[in-house]
Amino acid sequence: MLRQIEGSQAVARVVAACRPEVVCAYPITPQTHIVEAIGAMVKSGELPGCRFINVESEFSALSVAIGASATGARAYTATASQGLLFMMEALYNAAGLGLPIVMTLANRAVGAPINIWNDHSDAMAARDAGWIQLFARSNQEAADLHAQAFRLAEEVSLPVMVCMDGFILTHAFERVDVATREQIEAFLPPFEPRQVLDPAAPVSIGAMVGPEAFEEVRYLAHARHLDALGVIESVAEEFAEVVGRKSGGLVAPYRTQDAELVVIALGSVLGTIHEVVDEARDRGLRVGALGVTTFRPFPLEAVRDALAGDARLVVLEKAFSSGFGGVLSTDIAMALGGATARLSTVVGGLGGRAITETSLRRVVDDALEGRLGRLEFLDLDRAAVERELAHMAGDRRSGPIAENVLRAIGAGTAGIAGRRA
């Protein structure tokens, strides 16, 4: 049903249509609207057979989901940023136990400095936790991916994290065709757990595994991830058949045919990139884009196929690894057989800074003209950082760089926040 709706509400409706049995909530911006909406549905009786649990931390939120999932219940929760890191231990645990929990990650920067706005540092921190990580380009895809996530999780017995950009998607009102309950019923079979806590057939779940079998356990998890690559594609196809709309999958190439330059990214920024690609093509430039929808497991083959040829590559990343560089870039390079001079990393949009078409256009032009370095920072206030670097060089002392930078650019914290709000 097509409607103008907030991203969080769309996701909440799809999740509800998937008939979760246990939903846990702990408030953290910007995922709150999703669980608030589900909570209201449970409380009103719209979602019979679902328990909504207000817990005392994200760590408990995922832990409740772990218990519920191990008891054979379809379990869902949502978080962001610090919340994800606070549940990090449980994240690994859910994956290690192979529990098909679905969680929305409303992507948000990780402090310090504390920041409630969007970037991907939270998702990247959880990259190796063993979860399937899917990135939504739009609210339509975010909504659709949640239905696919339950199907996928339960089919491969792995937890799935649906990443959607905080505020940019969660709080954006857009036209979304929300899959109906009937469509989802046709698409999503009842949950049949691979293992379950049941007095009629007791098992011990969560054994201590030593060196004699730990590597094998990890290998098997890896194998399941690799299996998931195929399942993700077939689930997306089946979803398209039932719902009549293509969403999800491994990668999303856009006008890459004959491209001299391909811009690669995760999440909602692809919308802006597509605009810039279209504009560049209008200018006669051979530019394309590649969205990575499935980040874990990483679709090496699909990426390699999508980037066949010798186009220049720009990986636009909303996260990076301090002291190293791009995270997605490394994976892309790996897909292409290793480090390549074709590839530049542009880090941008950190902590919610807007990625504008103008800036991206400049990146495209610079890339095509060979002016782009291996690692660039989009719209960096170079004067401010130079001043601070000079200051640091003169007076080596520890201290909050953020404060110093703010002082350097002549703004107090309140000033910045006030402007943003």
Partner: protein, 542 residues
């Protein structure tokens, strides 16, 4: 569950494949230890075992276990001086178990219900002569009959019972109980001859064709004291006094009676005097209360009945109506020495209770029978120097109690049986003693002893009614359940419950437990928490 995820999920109970018993350096073992009551019982009763059955309310089985050793529990439950209770570990916890009272309860119940003693074994063909029908002789008779031997029981008096009849006053042992238990023995098929003193044992054995003999002739000859006595003084001995109580005419003692001596017989005599009308019954003893051989219970009951004790006094002179006493003092070795200080005491009569000797003239014809200090000399197997002739009870140098005599009767019967069968006497190895330190008394309920009720002292002196009143059933059951079952598993399930490794297997009621050494790590909690000390740890053979 078809296929569990590898390694992280496991089939329940699979750790049974891990035999943790290999960790063990010490292994527990169940054992039976000797309960102090059994150990102390001169009659060799398996006290703990019959209490165990009584605890369950199975009185008949309890009685049957009891009469395996002692055929006279109703008597024993009245006259025994209860070495079992003195030894009882519960005495260190609160008060000793009232074993004797339970025994009497079982004995009385058996009489009331008419329970029969076990059938004798098939006829062995051997003939045994038992001389004397006191406790020792009756006990020997019973055990010999059970073993299938033909027994002739020859008694000099006109009734069976020996000192139980002629020495123990009725207020301690009512004759109905005595008669019932004695009759139950003779009903096993015993050839009884009353009023027949045996003067020549060798001759009697030859004449009767006996293969063996048990001498249980007792000690009836009263010791006399060399005291200057006027002819007019009324002096008699305690043995005769007590014996005469079984006759038609009670003796006239007068209003003031002095009893000379400090043993149980002296107490019996003094208490009897009170019942015969003496207003003053005074026991004169040359040493102190602590040195007195009489059992405490006798002294206490006598005092309750108004018997007065004069310690550290000897009688130096007896005249009509008066005595002269000399005060004594204990020397550094605890022996009384005369002080020269004299005292005059009014007395209508004097009863001498200075001990008894056995009349052993019947063995005169058997040169290999040794008599030393007026007692038959016997070996460990109670056999005299003459093969096949055994001696028991007061006629030997054993302690002169009914219980000891009963125990010796059993021992002599078994020794005679072995001798008659031509096999060596088997002595079961005695288990290690279950001392108080081996118990974990935490587990026993707090329950002080049920006091055995006694007749009011005021009512006692005018009557020969029994002083001690028996327990009713609920009291007896309570008392039995105070037993700690020292050294013997009573299936409390503690070891089964407290094992952290589930390494104790419960075999079911009456079958106790066994260790599962596949899993027992040898921690020893079972031993520590065993209430009764029926487990021991031993080094593992590695």
């Amino acid at each position: 569950m078809n296929e569990l995820p590898f390694a992280i999920s496991l089939e329940v109970g699979s750790s049974l494949a891990n035999r943790t018993g290999s960790w063990r350096v010490e292994r527990p073992r169940y054992l039976d230890r000797m309960p102090p009551c059994n150990d102390a019982c001169p009659a060799g009763e398996n006290v703990q075992r019959w209490l165990y059955l009584a605890e369950e309310g199975d009185y008949e089985r309890a009685w049957r276990v009891l009469v395996e050793d002692n055929p006279m529990p109703a008597i024993m439950g009245r006259v025994c001086y209860r070495p079992c209770e003195t030894a009882c570990n519960r005495g260190q916890l609160d008060e000793a178990v009232g074993i004797n009272a339970v025994e009497r309860f079982l004995g009385d119940l058996a009489i009331e219900r008419g329970w029969r003693l076990p059938e004798p074994a098939p006829d062995s063909g051997a003939r045994v002569l038992v001389v004397g029908a006191g406790p020792g002789g009756l006990s020997a008779t019973y055990h010999l009959r059970r073993l299938g031997h033909t027994v002739r029981l020859v008694e000099a008096s006109s009734a069976l019972g020996g000192m139980m009849r002629y020495g123990i006053p009725k207020y301690r042992l009512p004759r109905a109980a005595l008669d019932a238990e004695v009759a139950r023995i003779t009903e096993m098929g015993v050839d009884v001859e009353l009023g027949t003193p045996v003067r020549d044992l060798a001759g009697a054995m030859r004449a009767g064709g006996f293969d063996a003999a048990v001498l249980a002739v007792g000690a009836q000859l009263a010791h006399r004291a060399y005291i200057a006595a006027a002819d007019s003084a009324r002096v008699l001995d305690a043995v005769s006094l007590l014996r005469s109580m079984e006759g038609e005419e009670p003796p006239a003692l007068g209003r003031r009676v002095v009893v000379y001596g400090g043993g149980d017989t002296a107490m019996d005599a003094a208490r009897t005097a009170r019942r015969l009308g003496a207003t003053d019954a005074i026991v004169v003893y040359r040493r102190t209360r602590e040195k007195m051989p009489a059992h405490d219970v006798e002294v206490e009951e006598a005092a309750e009945e108004g018997v007065v004790m004069k310690w550290l006094s000897t009688i130096t002179q007896m005249e009509k109506g008066r005595l002269v006493l000399e005060k004594m003092a204990l020397d550094e070795h605890g022996f009384p020495q005369p002080t020269g200080e004299l005292e005059v005491l009014q007395a209508d009569s004097v009863v001498l209770a200075l001990g008894q000797d056995a009349d052993l003239s019947l063995v005169g014809g058997l040169e290999d029978v040794v008599v030393r200090h007026g007692a038959l000399e016997v070996g460990d197997d109670l056999m005299t120097g003459h093969p096949g002739v055994f001696g028991v009870g007061d006629a030997t140098s054993a302690e002169r109690t009914v219980t000891t005599a009963i125990g010796q009767g059993k021992a002599a019967a078994r020794a005679a049986h072995a001798w008659l069968s031509g096999v060596p006497l088997e002595r079961p190895t005695r288990h290690e003693l279950a001392t108080f330190e081996l118990l974990n008394t935490w587990y026993y309920d707090d329950a002080p002893k049920t006091m055995r009720r006694r007749l009011e002292p005021a009512r006692r002196t005018g009557t020969f009614d029994e002083v001690a009143v028996g327990l009713d059933e609920s009291d007896a059951l309570f008392e039995a359940r105070r037993c700690l079952s020292c050294g013997n598993c009573f299936e409390c399930d503690n070891c089964f419950g407290v094992c952290p490794d589930n390494a104790v297997i419960k075999l079911g009621t009456g079958r106790r437990y066994e260790f599962d050494f596949d899993y027992c790590k040898g921690c020893g909690i079972c031993l520590q928490e065993c209430p009764c000390g029926a487990i021991v740890m031993e080094p593992e053979e590695i």
